[in-house]
Symmetry: C2
Subunit: 160 residues, 2 copies
């Protein structure tokens, strides 16, 4: 029984997450922050429930992350006049800047992570991963996939 318990996927993912976390930490940010800011910049304002669906972040975890972002002035919460249950979350201008900053950092880290792979191989990897995700009914339903799926660069975020 010569298994190879290398936990390849998890190890690579853990490595990526460590890189991302470390890279973000110097700015006092973490993965959730980037996910949220990026979603707000890319797909516009949204209620928290909608944001949670878009980013795959649990509603209960969203509250805390948004509190942090709001305290830092990167995000604004305003009651939705049309539906008093909802908070509409909006990125502020500093929030956009921070999203850009974190995005650059994430891109650099991803570049470092994927360094050993050629462009074609990177596409292979993202293609395979995406198929796995799509097949296993991606837990995230509210998603802006089409635009990027048609992008040739295959520059999907692998980590973050």
């Amino acid at each position: 029984m010569d298994h190879l318990p290398s936990r390849l996927l998890n190890q690579v993912s853990a490595h990526a997450q460590r890189l991302i976390a470390d890279g973000f930490a110097v700015s006092g940010a973490r993965g959730y922050h980037f996910r949220l800011l990026d979603s707000l910049v890319s797909d516009g304002p949204a209620s928290q429930a909608s944001l949670g669906r878009r980013t795959g972040i649990h509603l209960s975890d969203l509250v805390g992350a948004l509190n942090e972002l709001e305290s830092a002035g990167f995000v604004r919460r305003a009651p939705d006049p049309a539906d008093k249950r909802r908070n509409v979350v909006t990125v502020t201008e500093p929030g956009r800047e921070r999203a850009a900053e974190l995005g650059e950092r994430a891109a650099a880290i991803q570049e470092e992570l994927l360094a050993p792979l050629s462009a074609g191989e990177r596409e292979q990897l993202t293609g395979l991963l995406r198929r796995l995700l799509d097949h296993h009914g991606s837990p995230v339903t509210e998603r802006s996939r089409p635009a990027a799926a048609s992008r040739p660069g295959g520059d999907a975020w692998l980590a973050g």
Copy 2:
């Protein structure tokens, strides 16, 4: 800026970890237990420090996991007569059985996870991931790579 913040790698990995965790939980086990038992079965008894290097589990976390395994009778700790600093950890017969049980479960889950991919694609995926891991100086130094690396099936554990 039409990013796709899909965090592909992490999402797939998270999905895999959830499947594994859920699958193991019904037996009252978790990932660490399997990693440890599997390493002991595959590569024989070892000191805790060595086990940690083999499995990539932190020494401080090893203690707790081994306590649990020992309480359940799956593993035995004995002082190394040759070096009184060391505990030699050995898998018991029930431990082997449990390793087999968890291994089957993990294999089934992995099969489910990789269902959408052909055999060739699975090899592609593991190949790409392994290259990433190898390049980024795998954090685990003490590893039984050769035997499995030469295996054609490419049936490395992706998760767990």
